[in-house]
């Protein structure tokens, strides 16, 4: 279980990641909604809290056997419970990532990065956005790059990408109606994407502690 000596991890690791995400979006819900209130419609926090609560509930009830199945299940849950723009986008991200992972029992960080790359590509295709449009992609794209290196690098890159949305003018989603007035605000979706990778890094760190403790 956990990250083993060869650096691979199984379904339980991903379940713990998603639990950590659920905790993070719940904790940060008000902040996310505040950001969405400035350039959107003030529901991003509520949307993700609802979605990830459903994700963890389902994972607890019907625990999938493989990493790919965990992410595919989570993606389906997000699609089925979130609505709005972020539901299909995050849902597609996880579902596609899960599908790309296939049905192996364990995966490496590099494999996860690879699969997330295809997930992010699917998000870009579905939403028609590209980096610089002030969306979640501004955090997701660099994060996946970073993940090729390390969990910590992914986290840092996501965080940086989210912050980098501040001076941008939104071209997609609800914030785009603001035109110039969207400048100066951090994108809520990019911010929640950063939470995803922060949670991933923390899960990995806890895992390392665990593994050491166990070894």
């Amino acid at each position: 279980m956990g990250i083993d000596m060869t650096g691979t991890f199984g379904a339980d690791f991903l379940v713990r990641w998603l639990a950590a995400v659920a905790e993070a979006v719940d904790r940060e819900a008000e902040h996310l909604t505040e950001l969405d209130s400035a350039i959107g419609d003030a529901d991003h926090g509520a949307n993700l809290t609802r979605g990830f609560a459903a994700v963890t509930e389902t994972l607890a009830k019907e625990p999938p056997a493989t990493p790919g199945a965990v992410l595919a299940s989570a993606g389906r849950q997000l699609i089925s419970t979130v609505g709005g723009a972020s539901g299909p986008l995050y849902g597609t991200l996880l579902r596609r990532t899960g599908k790309t992972l296939g049905d192996g029992d364990r995966v490496t960080r590099e494999q996860l990065a690879e699969a997330l790359g295809s997930g992010v590509a699917a998000v870009a295709q579905l939403g028609g956005a590209q980096v610089g449009d002030k969306t979640m992609l501004d955090a997701l794209v660099p994060a996946v790059q970073g993940l090729r290196e390390s969990f910590a690098a992914a986290r840092a890159a996501a965080e940086e990408g989210a912050l980098a949305t501040v001076p941008l003018r939104a071209r997609k989603g609800r914030a785009s109606y603001l035109g110039e007035r969207s400048v100066g605000h951090q994108d809520p979706g990019a911010t929640s994407s950063a939470l995803l990778f922060a949670a991933l890094d923390e899960t990995a760190l806890a895992e390392a502690g665990r593994t050491e403790g166990a070894s």
């Binding site: 419609d41 529901d43 299909p88 579905l126 109606y177 603001l178």
Partner: protein, 330 residues
């Protein structure tokens, strides 16, 4: 907070229970959030399905019934519904003649309906989609998510719904829906912001004595903010904004719509000004509808939607409709 609710979390479910009790002619699945006309599926007829975030009532649930929508999917307040609702609705109303999804152009609605269409097609349902994007306040659609869908939704649902009721095949119903959208434009004005139950405070700041010209139906910002204007001035501005884009060569149907908290007395007075401008601009008005139809919770304000009709569209507009919020004919 001056809301008539229990807790924000149950607002949509509570409303659906209340709707079920008031409308025995509808089948309301409170759990799964689908409102279906009782006699669906209607053999041989195309079924219209729409939906979107709640908070715009009577849109869409109030437009379910003979001559208009076969089903509606209400999302959370101001949040698009999820594909599961749409697929379930499509399955409930499809007679085999196919389903038309009427989608307001907001990223969330577009993406969720897109996924739903794929899933429904997987289940063997023939699905077509029409995107409603009539709000001329959004100018440079190249750099945005595009024009928002607002008042024209009512025109699309009514007129395409009548075509479906007459037995037109899916491609024809879809083409009519598209034509209605292409010939419709809207412009909205907010005199106050609205308050979502979840947030509990106004979604944007609009100081008393100012108004937001070109507001969206979720309180999205418009073209500009100005000191308070008279009904006459607002009508000039709104109608001209619509006409500039629409340039109708013949008669129009006018929807003079309330955002929710503007009294009907004021709306009728505003309609007098709208009719005056249209007269001055030599635009003949074939039909007029005044009321709260596409609302934004407790926002004060109004919008004007014009649809440049041809003979067929006008005939379909006049065709009988039997829904909670729109009824005539037969």
């Amino acid at each position: 907070m001056r809301m008539l609710i229990n807790v924000p979390e149950t607002v949509v479910a509570d409303a659906l229970r209340g709707m079920a009790a008031a409308h025995p002619e509808l089948t309301v699945d409170v759990e799964r959030r689908v409102v279906v006309r009782r006699d669906a599926p209607v053999a041989g007829k195309v079924a219209l399905v729409s939906g979107g975030g709640s908070g715009h009532e009577p849109l869409h649930g109030g437009f379910v019934g003979p001559g208009m929508l076969a089903a509606a999917c209400p999302g959370e307040v101001f949040t698009s519904p999820v594909p599961d609702q749409m697929v379930r609705a499509a399955a409930a109303v499809d007679s085999g003649a196919g389903v038309l999804f009427v989608v307001k152009n907001y990223t969330g609605d577009v993406l969720n309906f897109e996924m739903a269409a794929e899933l429904a097609e997987d289940e063997g349902i023939q699905v077509a989609k029409v995107l409603v994007d009539d709000d001329v306040a959004v100018k440079d659609s190249l750099y945005t998510a595009g024009r928002r869908g607002t008042g024209a939704t009512l025109f699309v649902e009514k007129i395409a719904g009548a075509a479906a009721e007459e037995g037109a095949p899916l491609e024809r119903v879809e083409a009519i829906a598209r034509r209605v959208n292409e010939r419709s434009r809207s412009f909205g004005v907010a005199l106050s912001a609205c308050t979502t139950p979840a947030k509990g405070s106004p979604t944007f700041d609009l100081p008393a004595g100012e108004l937001e010209l070109g507001v969206g139906i979720h309180g999205e910002p418009g073209r500009e903010r100005r000191p308070m204007m008279t009904s006459r001035e607002i009508a000039d501005f709104a109608v001209d904004a619509v006409l500039e884009d629409l340039r109708p060569s013949g008669p129009v149907i006018a929807l003079v719509n309330g955002m929710g908290a503007t009294p009907l007395l004021e709306l009728y007075g505003f309609n007098a000004e709208v009719q005056r401008v249209l007269g001055e601009r030599k635009v003949p008005v074939a039909r007029t509808l005044v009321g709260n139809y596409v609302t934004s919770l407790d926002m004060a304000g109004c919008s004007v939607t014009l649809c440049a009709v041809d003979e067929e569209l006008l005939r379909l507009w006049d065709a009988p409709v039997q829904t909670a919020a729109l009824r005539w004919g037969r």
